[in-house]
């Protein structure tokens, strides 16, 4: 203890990055075999794939995993996907995948996969975009960005959690709204191309975000934003303008 090394100093600016959420990392480095047990269509472009993963160590809502497919010549394609299901002890988990044009992995899932097929995955990964259920959650998602947020909504419901949780989702049209039949009073949907009768068409705006931020529940909102980079930039700007502290905005961008 003769040497004093100064701790890294972060300058006092008006910007800040949120702190980490405590998660288990013991399972992340092991590839596990997962067996596809069911496929459920959500929208014309998205479907939910249910897997049996007997040794799954559990996850927090919002976490993702890495998945890989292997071709006969040894070629491997791997992708990160958010987990859609809430944590439970069923030994199963669900992923909801968009059918990406020319996507070699999502294309396989949407055109070839059937129950009984096996794939490999590792996870859960990252303690950043995770919600332990212990603090008020304000969720903003667009397109398949709703997937990790739905894990949080489902967790909130199945555990009967008392902390406030609200969700704003943006979809092109009612038919493109993933989990439409499952969304409840906690959710407000915004439609950017076509909307049901009586619902205006338009982008997520201050009029949607500001009233929710203004509710300021005890302990304050932890905001979770998930979608394309364009949506993430737009939604996070709306949150900041409404007074949400930047160090309590967690962003997961596609890519």
């Amino acid at each position: 203890m003769t040497e004093t090394v100064p701790a890294p100093r972060v300058p006092a600016t008006r910007f800040a990055v949120p702190g980490r959420i405590a998660v288990s990392e013991r399972a992340a480095s092991v590839w596990q075999t997962a067996t596809l047990t069911g496929i459920r269509r959500e929208t014309p472009h998205a479907a939910t794939f249910r897997f049996a993963v007997p040794d799954w160590a559990g996850h927090l809502p919002g976490q993702h995993l890495m998945l890989r497919l292997t071709a006969p010549d040894g070629y491997v394609a791997q992708r990160h996907y958010s987990i859609a299901s809430a944590p439970d002890d069923s030994g199963h988990l669900e992923l909801t995948l968009d059918h990406v044009r020319d996507g070699e992995v999502s294309g396989w899932f949407h055109t070839t996969a059937r129950p009984g097929d096996t794939i490999e995955l590792r996870g859960p990964l990252s303690g950043f975009f995770a919600w332990p259920g212990d603090r008020p959650a304000l969720l903003l998602g667009a397109g398949s960005g709703v997937v990790p947020l739905m894990s949080m909504v489902r967790h909130h419901r199945t555990r009967g959690l008392g902390v406030p949780l609200r969700m704003l989702v943006s979809a092109r049209s009612p038919g493109e709204l993933i989990y439409a039949g499952e969304l409840g009073a906690e959710t407000t949907a915004v439609f950017t191309r076509s909307a049901p009768a009586g619902v205006p068409v338009g982008r997520l705006a201050a009029e949607h975000v500001a009233p929710l931020v203004a509710e300021r529940p005890p302990g304050g909102w932890e905001a979770y934003v998930c979608g394309s980079n364009g949506f993430a930039e737009h939604a996070s700007r709306l949150l900041v303008e409404a007074g949400q502290p930047v160090e309590r905005i967690r962003i997961e961008r596609f890519g």
Binding site: V10, A77, D102, T112, R253
Partner: protein, 201 residues
């Protein structure tokens, strides 16, 4: 090998520049920052080197820009799986800054931190010898805010989360200290050629 029934994958490219498990993002440059993009102007920006150095030093925008220019032209690799070939960054070699601050003999590691509070750790050896830059231009244009502008760290031989956006400073240490993603389960070094994505890889 666990072959996936019916999976063939995209046409094989034998590109020696592509590390294992990566694909070519071509014209895409995904943005993956976990925090709100700061509205940081060049006038707000500064860059400091301290810790185990003989002369801790802070540069403002004008003084940093006045240093001898240096370019990187080559490839970058993101831990999420994409690589981007033949990108061109302009800035100043980190060696130029370190020559002023003079690392102490005991310095072995560094923590790079951003104006947002983001941080990432690197062995000092990965930051010297013409392998790291402070970059403010991309393709000859000012670096966009969402890509780390006004200036970011650039360490292209490691996964790109090491190339801290909105770079604010580097603190030299005599030990390794995990940064933001490293504390969230990512690998301490992040060498794409050894596929060091997560802790334990």
């Amino acid at each position: 090998m666990n072959v996936t029934r019916g999976f063939t994958g995209r046409p094989r490219v034998t590109d020696p520049g592509l590390p294992p498990g990566q694909y070519d993002a071509r014209d895409e440059w995904p943005v993956l920052s976990a925090e709100v993009t700061p509205g940081l102007t060049p006038a707000d920006w500064s860059f400091r080197i301290d810790g185990l150095v003989e002369r801790p030093h802070t540069w403002d925008w004008e003084r940093a820009r006045a240093l001898p220019a240096s370019e990187y032209e080559g490839d970058i690799h993101c831990v999420t799986g994409w690589s981007k070939f033949g990108v061109r960054f302009g800035g100043v070699a980190l060696d130029t800054f370190l020559d002023v601050a003079r690392p102490a003999a005991a310095a072995t590691h560094a923590v790079a931190y951003s104006h947002t509070g983001y941080s990432t750790n690197l062995p000092l050896a990965d930051l010297t010898g013409g392998r790291a830059w402070i970059a403010w231009e991309y393709g000859g244009e000012p670096l966009a805010p969402e890509h780390g502008g006004p200036a970011r760290l650039l360490v292209p031989h490691l996964y790109f989360w090491k190339s801290a956006k909105w770079i604010a400073g580097i603190t030299l240490l005599d030990h390794d200290e995990p940064g933001f993603w490293e504390g969230n389960g990512y690998h301490e070094r992040g060498n794409p050629w050894e596929e060091q994505r997560y802790s334990g890889d």
